[in-house]
Amino acid sequence: MIQFTIEDRNGERQSIEAPDDMNLSLMEVLKASEYDILATCGGMALCATCHVQVLQGNDLLPQPSDMELDMLDTLPNATNHSRLACQLRISEAMQGSIFQIAGELQ
């Protein structure tokens, strides 16, 4: 199990545990944990509503693909620490990371 922290829109933090052997994406884990995210495109890197900011652990995560970077480029509030939760697979690299939910809600 991988343990990481989610900061919601109100700044509240919660520790989450997720299995790393089920090929789950961070977006799927957030949805399953009932966080308010739209994830309109269902994880195809087409909507950017699953945008998260990596507050801790950014350097350890795998590099974003061109498709992910293309989508992040369409976000006015993206930073160098922005990722699409649907493109991040739960893995060892996430252990101890902190993610802040940043996607639009309508």
Binding site: C41, T49, D73, P76
Partner: protein, 336 residues
């Protein structure tokens, strides 16, 4: 100001709105469709035209845009009419029960029934978080280049890193007096050819290219006058500018539909699953925009909802006639 009279006004020309024309047409009801986007097809054409869809009955696989094209073919016999590139802003009930639907361009559609097939809502420009941005909309801040001539000999700041930011930078560099492109990244993906041209123009000093930068403030007196940009090391540069064009793509927003007195639950319209009617008589909601226990946001489900809606709407369009259900295999598709 255009005035249109029809039986059913369908708000949203996505797959579900389009199929509703077919179901209404079988019952001899005429439809007019309005969509805020300049093209038909809703999410299929706007977000994923080239993606295959696998769950449309009869099509083991179909590309999203091909499905839209086939729907257009299927409804052609019923001669639907369209108002594209206009957003429905208001809906007003008349004393005889009919409605007047008005768009942001003041097009008026008089109809007996309204069908909201608005999907996730209107696709609207993604806006950067800049203070006073809305005050300057139409007064220097625009999100779309409709008529490039408006920018002739003006000082323009474009913001964004996608294809449209690159394309308009290239185009406006020949029209405007001064063009600055602000991009938060260091490189551009998208069409490599356009990116290369933008770098070349910057190299020649024909445009200003501010990379690793963000627009952080705008100012002016009645009209935009300056744009402040935070760059490397957070240093702020303030440029004189007549126009700021943020180009960050489109995102769906429920928009004006939220103000029409309909029961809304988490950005979707609550409906009665018997006929997909809303709490307002003669207004129906089908497809992604509605909600009910067990709702699935699938094209297939929207098609089913369209069929039931049409059977129910018939009583308002033909109050003196009795509806008897017939299969298309028996009667064929009888156009008007």
């Amino acid at each position: 100001m255009e005035k249109i009279v029809t039986d059913i006004c369908i708000i949203g020309a996505g797959p579900v709105g389009l199929f509703a024309v077919f179901e209404a047409g079988l019952l001899k009801m005429r439809c007019h469709l309005v969509d805020a986007l300049p093209q038909i097809g809703g999410q299929l054409s706007e977000i994923y035209p080239q993606k295959p869809i696998y769950d449309i009955p009869g099509y083991p696989e179909v590309k999203a845009q091909d499905l839209v094209d086939r729907l257009m073919e299927q409804i052609a016999p019923f001669h639907p009419t369209f108002t594209l590139g206009e957003r429905v802003d208001s809906v007003e009930k008349q004393t005889d029960g009919s409605f007047i639907v008005t768009t942001n361009e003041k097009t008026e559609i008089t109809c007996q029934v309204i069908v909201i097939a608005g999907g996730l809502g209107c696709f609207e420009p993604r806006k950067p978080e800049i203070e006073h941005l809305e005050e300057f909309e139409g007064k220097g801040v625009v999100y779309m280049v409709k008529n490039p001539e408006l920018f002739r000999d003006r000082r323009i700041v474009l913001a964004g890193g996608g294809d449209s930011a690159l394309d308009w930078t290239l185009f406006l560099s020949n029209v405007a007096k001064e063009v600055t492109l602000v991009h938060r990244g260091e490189t551009f993906r998208g069409a490599p050819d356009s990116a290369e041209k933008v770098f070349e123009l910057a190299h020649q000093g024909k445009i200003n290219l501010l990379l690793k930068s963000n627009v952080v403030a705008i100012n002016g007196n009645g009209h935009l006058n300056t744009v402040s940009i935070s760059g490397k090391d957070n240093a702020i540069t303030t440029l004189t500018a007549d126009h700021l064009i943020p180009l960050f793509g489109l995102t769906p927003k429920l928009g004006p539909i939220a103000d029409w007195g309909l029961t809304i639950d988490k950005s979707a319209i609550s409906v009665n699953t018997e006929d997909y009617s809303t709490n307002v008589e003669r207004i129906y909601a089908i497809g992604d925009i509605n909600t009910y226990p067990g709702k699935l946001k699938l094209i297939l489900c929207g098609f089913h909802e369209a069929a039931l809606m049409a059977q129910s709407a018939f009583k308002y369009v033909y109050p003196n006639q009795k509806l008897s259900f017939k299969y298309t295999t028996v009667n064929g598709v009888n156009a008007f």
